[in-house]
């Protein structure tokens, strides 16, 4: 099997996974730029799964019966219905993720609690909440609703094919949000709309962080909150906003993971938590830059999913799983030794700022 073939066959999985990484990475980058090392990001993504589940259930119970999205007819009504689902999912998962961020920033910024400890606690809590409530929602036919919702999430507007509503869906020609077709270019550019939203978001966040006054203040708060405070910037407000918005974005990543990566079939928190920890690695790997994160998330997703596409013995396979982490460590070491200012971690990362203690 040559490299191109592996690339081709793994690409659908790689792209969906990279979007999960990218959502989390953008959120964590914003949060870390304001000096909050949010180790709660795996938990926050689980929060997002719960929120996305609630949004999807609201859609399936109230909007879908009125405006069903049916097979081979993707007209105006279907489009409205589809957009409402996407909107509901994003709003609710963002809100739940932001709730996690609110807890985190309340504890660290207002109550000055230790960031590492708070993050770990939030991860524990989020993992429990995620598993508990998604299992709760999956009872009494909720999982079937999730599957239908997931199918609609996975629709891409260029070539919508769905099974008739209420019937079991034939998954044979539908792979990770893809319609398997002979044309590889069509494959790459026919994606669920959340994928495009994510990539655009990365660019927008890059511009906001690096080219606007808000971004400048945010980075100042992250580098040296005392100086920022002296310059008249409201450090608490920036820390709050950055963490809450960042966690909200990461929460949308949780929605994407459950609805498109897993196609609505929740399989427990532990996998998502692994991805969440990799997001933390990815933020380091991409040197706190959302544009680099687009490439970095693709690289990480490729490295993460490549072992299952190569036919080697299990030992090599298990060793390949280690590569992303080793690469992250190498990047961490290299940036700390040779790094210029713009690739180093924010100056006050992990340290709280309390004006009266200085």
């Amino acid at each position: 099997m040559n490299f191109l073939e592996i690339l081709g066959s793994s690409l659908p999985s790689v792209i969906t996974l990279s979007v999960v990484f990218l959502f989390g990475c953008i959120g964590e980058t914003i949060s870390e730029k304001a000096g909050n090392l949010n180790l709660g990001i795996p938990g926050v993504m689980c929060f997002g799964v719960v929120g996305g589940g609630i949004g999807s259930l609201i859609y399936m119970n109230f909007i879908y019966p009125a405006m069903p999205v049916t097979a081979n007819a993707f007209g105006f009504v279907e489009f409205i219905s589809y957009s409402l689902l996407i909107l509901l999912g994003i709003v609710f998962s963002f809100a739940f993720g932001a709730l996690g961020g609110l807890i985190y920033s309340f504890l660290t910024t207002t109550l000055k609690a230790n960031q590492n400890v708070t993050g770990l606690a939030l991860t524990t809590f989020g993992a429990g909440v995620g598993d508990f409530f998604v299992t709760l929602m999956c009872r009494d036919g909720g999982d079937d609703l999730f599957e239908v919702a997931a199918r609609i999430y996975g629709t891409h507007l260029t070539n919508a094919t769905l099974g008739p509503a209420g019937t079991t869906f034939d998954n044979s020609n539908w792979h990770m949000g893809f319609i398997a077709s002979d044309n590889p270019v069509a494959n790459i550019f026919s994606q669920p709309s959340l994928v495009y939203i994510c990539f655009i978001l990365a660019i927008v966040v890059f511009i906001v962080l690096n080219k606007t006054r808000i971004g400048l203040s945010l980075r100042a708060v992250g580098e040296n909150p005392a100086t920022a405070d002296a310059a008249g910037i409201n450090t608490d407000k920036y820390k709050y906003m950055a963490t809450v918005i960042g966690c909200g974005i990461a929460g949308v990543g949780g929605l994407f993971y459950n609805m498109i990566r897993l196609q609505g079939g929740w399989n427990g928190t532990s996998n998502l938590q692994n991805l969440g920890w990799m997001v933390l690695a990815l933020v380091i790997f991409t040197v706190w830059n959302p544009l680099v994160a687009i490439v970095g998330s693709l690289v990480f997703a490729f490295l993460y999913s490549i072992p299952s596409y190569i036919n080697t013995d299990m030992v090599t396979n298990k060793f390949l799983v280690l590569i992303p982490y080793i690469m992250t460590v190498v990047v961490l070491i290299f940036t700390s030794i040779f790094g210029k200012k713009n690739v180093l971690p924010p100056g006050s990362l992990g340290v709280n700022y309390f004006r009266e203690e200085r």
């Binding site: 090392l37 180790l39 938990g43 807890i103 504890l107 109550l111 000055k112 609690a113 230790n114 590492n116 400890v117 708070t118 770990l120 606690a121 939030l122 991860t123 524990t124 809590f125 989020g126 993992a127 429990g128 909440v129 995620g130 598993d131 508990f132 299992t135 709760l136 427990g268 928190t269 532990s270 920890w277 933390l280 690695a281 380091i284 013995d313 299990m314 030992v315 396979n317 298990k318 060793f319 799983v321 280690l322 982490y325 080793i326 992250t328 460590v329 961490l332 070491i333 700390s336 030794i337 971690p345 990362l349 992990g350 009266e356």
Partner: protein
């Protein structure tokens, strides 16, 4: 607006000094008594546990009081029936957690955020298991145990020293580095498992040779070893030069430089100690508890749990004993709660939810212990906690009132839930049915007689019926 110009001006002058001060503001607290701080923490913990159990109740209708009982059952088992197995396991798990906590305390006192406990434990257990598999049966058990002990300690130390060296010389972010080392360690474990035990199962068989010797029962020796470790660490931190140096480095690296402490040396030395102890715990798990190894579960997430235990104890080894016992208690107890309701809850989600709640609440409670929120009323400042305390005193002051406040509504609640309501409903129904059956013929007659005379209001007819029944009886 223009009309009341004169009337507005006068109060604004009076208000001006008040508006300068905020309604709430935060101050550092100095005078908190120990019992008060313990009371605050426990209040928050109990509140968090009940919050968690309440979620279970709302979701699945699980009785929270029964769950509270299950918490104790899970941790201590059936002690009253003479079965002490659970209690021993509880003590052993607490001891292991305490051991990891002891490993982390020196690093954390130095403000080196060692998040790599999981990895250091896993790598220690891995080396221990390698020794057991390769040497077990070929040498006397005691030799294997000693070799694997030394190997686990050394490798654990190396595993922690790598981030420490980079931290000391290049100021590499240690929390991220140690976090990554966790995954490399667990990955190496699975690489070894797949390399050494190929085939479908890929499970390390339970090793019979090279086990830790058994003293009275399987758990006691581990507990004793951790107790020895505890005393050693206590002395190391309190009475040795090293312990003093690392606390100085933790307070301020510049001060350390000024005093003439080589901070790089201290960082690396302390982390070697920390990693060695984690490796030792890994050895205890491999050689004394599991006799086997899995990539994901061998470390039991203790690297993270111990951070919570240590942090709740404010890096005090003695207090860590209690926090370790408490965390193990909740973990085991929630396991039992989950077991008791296994048809609803199929995973450890409830456990981690309640644990997370407790952590978050305790973190929040820490704020009330370190700082006080001053409430500003008419320029007079009072502590919010004092206001709450005063409120409780006012409400619950007299004992009788306390009982009235708490138990009467609870009693009513239970009365409303069980029994009384149903009886109240059923009794009149039965009576009416009896009457109907007995006097059906009489009633029909009465109807026929009464209806033509007093038809306009139904009330009258009913009363008329009753009268007629009585008359007939």
């Amino acid at each position: 607006m223009l009309k009341d110009n004169s009337s507005v001006q006068t109060p604004s002058i009076e208000k001006a000094p008040k508006e300068k001060k905020k309604l709430f503001h935060v101050e550092k607290r100095f005078n908190m008594a120990t019992w008060q701080s313990i009371l605050i923490r426990f209040g928050f913990i109990i509140f968090a546990v009940f919050m968690g159990l309440l979620v279970l109740t709302m979701a699945y209708g699980i009785n929270p009081f029964l769950s509270f009982g299950n918490l104790f059952k899970g941790a201590f088992g059936e002690i009253f029936k003479g079965n002490f197995d659970n209690l021993w396991e509880f003590l052993r798990d607490s001891a292991l957690l305490l051991g990891v906590g002891l490993a982390l305390i020196p690093a954390f006192k130095m403000k080196f955020w060692n998040l790599g406990g999981n990895g250091q434990i896993a790598i220690g257990a891995l080396v221990c298991l390698i020794m057991m598999v390769e040497l077990g049966g070929k040498m006397p058990d005691i030799v294997v145990v000693l070799i694997s002990l030394v190997a686990a300690v050394v490798v654990g130390a190396i595993w922690a020293a790598i981030p420490a060296i980079f931290k000391a010389f290049f100021d590499t972010n240690e929390s991220l580095f140690t976090l990554m080392m966790n995954y490399i360690a667990t990955g190496l474990v699975s690489v070894w498992i797949y390399w050494r035990f190929p085939g479908n199962s890929n499970v390390v068989p339970v090793q019979d040779d090279g086990r830790l010797p058994i003293l009275f029962n399987k758990q006691l020796l581990i507990i004793i070893l951790v107790a020895v470790l505890f005393v050693a660490i206590l002395f190391y931190l309190k009475f040795s030069k090293h312990g003093y140096e690392l606390s100085v480095v933790g307070e301020s690296i510049n001060t350390a430089k000024y005093v003439g402490i080589n901070s790089k040396k201290v960082i690396i030395r302390t982390l070697i100690l920390s990693g060695a102890l984690c490796g030792f715990i890994g050895f205890l798990i491999g050689s004394g508890v599991d006799y086997t190894i899995t990539a994901e579960t061998t470390h039991r997430g203790m690297g993270f749990t111990a951070i919570m235990a240590v942090w709740l104890a404010k890096f005090n080894p003695i207090v860590t004993i209690f926090t370790a016992l408490f965390i193990t208690f909740i973990t085991k107890g929630m396991g039992q709660v989950q077991m008791a309701n296994s048809r609803y809850i199929t995973d450890a989600s409830a456990t981690s939810m309640v644990m997370g709640l407790i952590y978050l609440f305790v973190i929040a409670s820490e704020f009330f212990i370190e700082y006080k929120i001053m409430y500003n009323k008419n320029g007079k400042e009072t502590d919010v906690l004092e206001i709450i305390g005063g409120f409780f005193k006012k409400v619950f002051g007299p004992v009788g009132r306390f009982f009235a406040m708490v138990f009467v509504p609870v009693g009513r609640f239970f009365k409303a839930l069980f029994g009384t309501k149903d009886n109240a409903k059923k009794e009149p129904d039965k009576k009416s049915i009896d009457i109907d059956e007995d006097n059906q013929a009489n009633l029909d007659e009465a109807k026929q007689i009464l209806e033509p005379e007093t038809s306009p209001s139904k009330k009258k007819t009913t009363s008329g019926r009753k009268k007629s029944q009585k008359g007939s009886k």
